[in-house]
């Protein structure tokens, strides 16, 4: 077990950073309090580095990894989480306590440890990231449940505290309550899986499914789990909260929400689908898809019922997200809907799975999802960083307000080139315009789906890309081609936090740079997505309990 611990160094580093941040936040010295952000950044950065450094080689992975079928995914996912988290952290500067700190600096009020939220905010951030990394590590449903909750719970608070306005509170309450409901759903799903298999260990579940087939109960459990987790990825039908929460939260927190819970959700879905396995065939006519489903050697897809459900969810998610985004004028709300749509795109990769050409990047849906998560994280961070880096100059009420509508972005390339251009580039990338990163994120989804024969889904994806182009175009070109109309409201100025702008610039650079030199990352995604079928891991897993039907044992 001790080698497993070595594998958890990134999480440990994050945890240490969390503790340090929490303690330092209580300091009376401004500089110390201010250093919490740096410590947090150090934490995420070192987590990323540690994830990268502790990446074990081939055989070693099996020794240290908990779950065995997508073992290589773990280090890759953690590295990318650490990297994007660092980027996101740059945007977080000054989110809370800005007014208080200003007051303290002016001497209007003195420091009150009970009122200071700054360190807590960073701590929550770090907790959430820790949970996210733990999601990737999970080899047990219990672990997965805890990791998901660790990811989510801090985000509820972050949303609520990110702004002082009522909207933030409203976003927080909606997010929290609906999140609790979603959690209950996937928890119930986990319970049913446990009931069907008799184990919560993912490896054992995988082996049990592979040897005994999936019982109806198990399938119901899997379905409920995935539906519950759909809340995290904001997929239909669990997407309703997304626009309200994103709109209500501060932009940097919305950007955080668009990456962290989503990544957690996708990693979890990949783990669950991996346990089910992508080696089923379409059942012949007359056989119910839900009757005990047996994997087969020729199989290349999820069980038909699961595939169809995901298919419908994916198609609906893309479409609903895009068509609703079309109508928005609020930037954050539009991005929220687009975030829904992007989840739909990524679900295509989940449906495809490793595919028939698992050893190639172009044919492996899992690799596509992993790469897309990275690209989406980067582009998304860029867009939200720009929003976070802008604000309306304090007006009559003396409080800076965040910018809201697209027209607030007009002429940004001229007034703030270092924010305007990243906005343009990141939006075009989100649109999927070649040769930016977003295109190379979407292309593997395209190729993998086509190689798996999911042509209709590809067409849905294509049409949705076109619909998405409508609103991204508005967003991308408002800064570039429009001229700012100064008529209404207070002037728009850059927020006094350099790191937010830096995050935007770094994101934009990555959007271009990773497109040009993304081959290594693709290579990484490909090897990360190597999927070991359950038959191959059977020997290393103690035989799970057989299907409960065989053992008609009473509870007492």
């Amino acid at each position: 077990m001790i080698e497993r611990l070595a594998y958890l160094w990134p999480e440990i580093a994050l945890f240490i950073a969390t503790c340090v941040v929490m303690v330092m936040g209580l300091s009376r010295t401004y500089a110390t309090r201010k250093a919490t952000a740096t410590i947090a950044a150090l934490g995420t950065f070192s987590a990323a580095v540690l994830s990268f450094l502790t990446t074990p080689d081939g055989g070693e992975i099996e020794a240290v990894s908990g779950q065995l079928y997508l073992a290589s995914m773990v280090p890759y996912a953690k590295t990318l989480i650490g990297a994007v988290a660092t980027l996101l952290l740059l945007t977080m500067a000054g989110t809370v306590d800005r007014a208080e700190e200003a007051d303290i600096a002016k001497g209007v009020r003195s420091f009150d440890p009970l009122r200071s939220n700054r360190a807590e905010f960073y701590a929550f951030f770090l907790f959430s990231i820790t949970g996210l990394m733990l999601c990737a590590d999970a080899d047990d449903l219990i672990w997965l449940f805890l990791a998901l909750e660790l990811t989510s719970l801090p985000t509820y608070i972050m949303v609520a505290m990110s702004t002082a306005r009522n909207r933030g509170r409203e976003a927080g309450v909606k997010y929290f309550f609906l999140g609790a409901m979603g959690a209950a759903v996937f928890l119930y799903g986990f319970a049913l899986i446990y009931g069907a298999v008799g184990s919560t260990n993912l490896n054992e579940i995988a082996v049990a499914f592979a040897t005994g087939g999936i019982s109806s109960l198990g399938m119901l459990g899997v379905l409920l789990s995935i539906l519950g987790i759909c809340f995290k990825i904001a997929a239909v039908p669990m997407h309703f909260y997304t626009p309200d929460v994103y709109e209500g939260a501060a932009p940097q927190v919305s950007g955080f929400l668009a990456f962290v819970p989503k990544t957690a959700g996708f990693l979890s879905i990949l783990l669950i689908c991996g346990a089910v396995g992508w080696n089923y065939v379409i059942p012949p006519d007359g056989v119910s898809p839900l009757a005990t489903v047996m994997p087969s050697a020729e199989g290349t897809q999820l069980p038909e019922v699961l595939r169809l459900t995901l298919w419908v969810i994916a198609a609906l998610t893309m479409t609903v997200g895009n068509v609703l985004a079309l109508l928005q004028t609020s930037v954050k709300r539009m991005l929220a809907y687009s975030s829904i749509a992007h989840s739909g795109y990524m679900l295509v990769g989940v449906i495809v799975g490793p595919g028939i050409a698992a050893d190639s990047f172009s044919g492996n849906g899992v690799a596509a999802v992993l790469f897309y998560l990275l690209s989406y994280g980067v582009m998304n961070a860029g867009v939200f960083a720009v929003l976070a880096a802008l604000e309306r100059a304090p007006g009559r009420d003396g409080e800076p307000r965040e910018i809201e509508t697209i027209s607030d972005l007009k002429g940004l390339c001229r007034s703030h080139p270092m924010l305007g251009w990243p906005m343009v580039i990141c939006c075009l990338s989100l649109l999927g315009l070649p040769p930016l990163l977003g295109f190379f994120g979407k292309l593997p989804l395209f190729t993998a789906a086509i190689r798996a024969g999911e042509i209709p889904l590809v067409l849905v994806l294509g049409v949705n890309s076109a619909i998405a182009a409508c609103y991204y175009l508005k967003l991308a070109f408002a800064p570039l081609t429009e001229v700012a109309d100064d008529a209404d409201g207070d002037p728009i100025v850059a927020a006094p936090f350099r790191t937010r702008a830096a995050a935007a610039v770094i994101s934009a650079a990555c959007v271009i740079g990773l497109a040009l030199g993304g081959n290594l990352l693709m290579q990484g995604a490909r090897s990360a997505a190597s999927y070991t079928e359950a038959d191959a891991i059977k020997s290393r897993v103690p035989q799970a309990n057989a299907a409960p039907v065989d053992r008609n044992v009473a509870a007492h």
Partner: protein, 741 residues
Amino acid sequence: MHATSILSTWAGLLPAQHEAAGAAAQVAGAVDGPAIAALAPLLPLLSFVLCGLCAAFKVRSKLPAWITVACLAASFAAVVATTLDLREAGAGSVMVTPLFDWINYSWGTEAGQHFRANFAFHIDSLTCLWMLFVTGLATLIALYASEYMSHDVGMGYCRFFAAFSLFVFSMACLVMGDNLVLLYLGWEGVGLCSYLLIGYFYKKPSAVAAAKKAFIVNRIGDLFLALGIMLCWVHFGSVEYREIFARVGPSLELLREGKVDQIPGIVQLIPLLLMVGAFGKSAQLPLYVWLPDAMEGPTPVSALIHAATMVTAGVYLIARTYPLFLLSEYALPIVGWVGALTALLAATIGMAQFDIKRIMAYSTVSQLGYMFCGLAVLGSVGAAAHVFTHAFFKAMLFLSCGAVMHGFAGQLDLRKLSGVAFMKGWGVVGIAMFVGCLNLAGFPVITAGYWSKDMILGDAFATPGMQAIGWILLLTAGLTAYYTFRVFFRVFVGPKHFEPGDELHAHDDHGHGHDDGHGGHGHAAGHAPSHADFHPHAPGWAINLVLGILAIAAFAAIVPLMTGGDNGPWLASMVDGSSAKYLGVAASQAAHAAGHGDGHAHATFFGYDAHKAMMVVSGVVGFIGILIAYLLHYAGRTTAARSKADSLLPAFGPLATAAQHKWYVDEIYDLLIVKPLWVISNIFALIDKYVVDGLVDFLGWAPRAIGRSLRPSQGGELHGYAIGMAGGIAVLVLIVLLVTF
């Protein structure tokens, strides 16, 4: 049925097999032509370039005119030299002067896999014949124009002569091109120049409209010509004359053997397509409508392009591709009927017009109909002869009218001019006009026009099945004589009277068009007050010189028509030495022989030899026409405005009015073609905006609409979301449970 009989008749007329094959071989084995031939088209091109440069450098002298005259004269000399070369090469020889490759590519080595349409000049006697009068007349008319256009020196002068030169170049390409595509180049090129020159007074909306009309109507014909060329390519695998003629052999053989129905349909279709092109360019029914309007152009243009040369391109085309026409059962009869009907129709319209230039225009249409008939009745020599003579006398007629127009400030209404020939300085014009009218009317024996028209009439009556055409033509000949001399008697003789036209002011500023400020012109003899200072200025030396030369030439044209060397008259030998020969020779020879009883092949005119009979009959008809004109328009006429004819008009009732309105053909076309097309276009534009684009907009709208319908689901209420989520899960799970179990 009727056509088949004609065709089988023709088959009997075919020359012996060896003759046909020999001719084909002869054509195929063309020798390299003289380089000097290339100068014929290139010199006008040079002139075009130089005139263009003059325009660019804003030359304000008569320099462009002299450049043009010089180049065209040199071009004429080159043609003469070429003709002499050809003569040395022997009768019936064909020479090709290649210049450079044009459309030339291949996709294989087999026959028909190498498309070749080069800038190369096909020189045979037909070419030379045409080029001689084209360049000759062009030189003369350019000289005439140098004076005629002197109003415009420094304005449109360069433009005029540039387009003029370009026209000659295009015409040369049309006539000399060694393939149909180069012919097409010339064909459209002359169309362009015609367009540019008709629209020369570009500020006059009517001129612009006429130019446009000419181009578009011609384009309709051009399309068919192009299709004919394509069909030629598909069938023969070549668009070069000598190749085509070499490959037409098998079909000619079939024709000769009388196996008419074995001639491939494709081959028979080619002439039908080419023919429509010819109808367009030569202003035949139903495409003649552009030519009368084309008189909006300066008169030299009307003379050269719209009377003497360009409009005969259709005749040239048919003559050039005569072998193909012979192979079709329908082509030549259609050509004949179209020609005859056009001749008659145009003559009737011409009778009722008052604008002398327009009368000449309709007469041109009518005479072109004659030429087509000549071709149709197997008299290619006759047709060519008529082209030849007509070129001279019609050019002269136009130039005379032009001189009048020039001198009387654009006045062309025959009711407002009278006795011009007797005014001071107008003698040459009067004589020229008289000579021209005599020719056009076909005054017996002394005029060239009489002889060439006679040949066509004779052939018409000599050819079985074509007598009806002959009768129509005969009637037309009478009408022609009448309206020709109507003009002469009203304008050039009789009491002296004139009213200047409205170009008195418009000359200086075409942009204003008609100057309404001056009101109507006085009706009384003498001058309206505002014109008190107007004196008609008599033509200068250049105009008189040209008219004089042409008057002589109009008579002299008899010489080549009637005399020549061993191969018959010179003109006949020129035609016979070319592709227009094959049957033409046989037919005319046979027709001459037919007087001696070969009833199968030859028809007669009431038992007389058709040609000899026609000499008398057509002469008589011409006389009658002139006589009627004399009685109605000269005898006893005291004013310019009215003659005896006017009192006769009511007798014709609506017919007269209809003829005056050109039988309402323009209006009918407008109603049947232009208007509906306009409506359809507008409908298309609406469809495009609302249906095609509307569909696109719908596709753009649909996602929004879906979004709008989904929007209530995002009502902002926590419970709404919860219900949505729970409901979604429930629905999905229930569907899975219920549907799949």
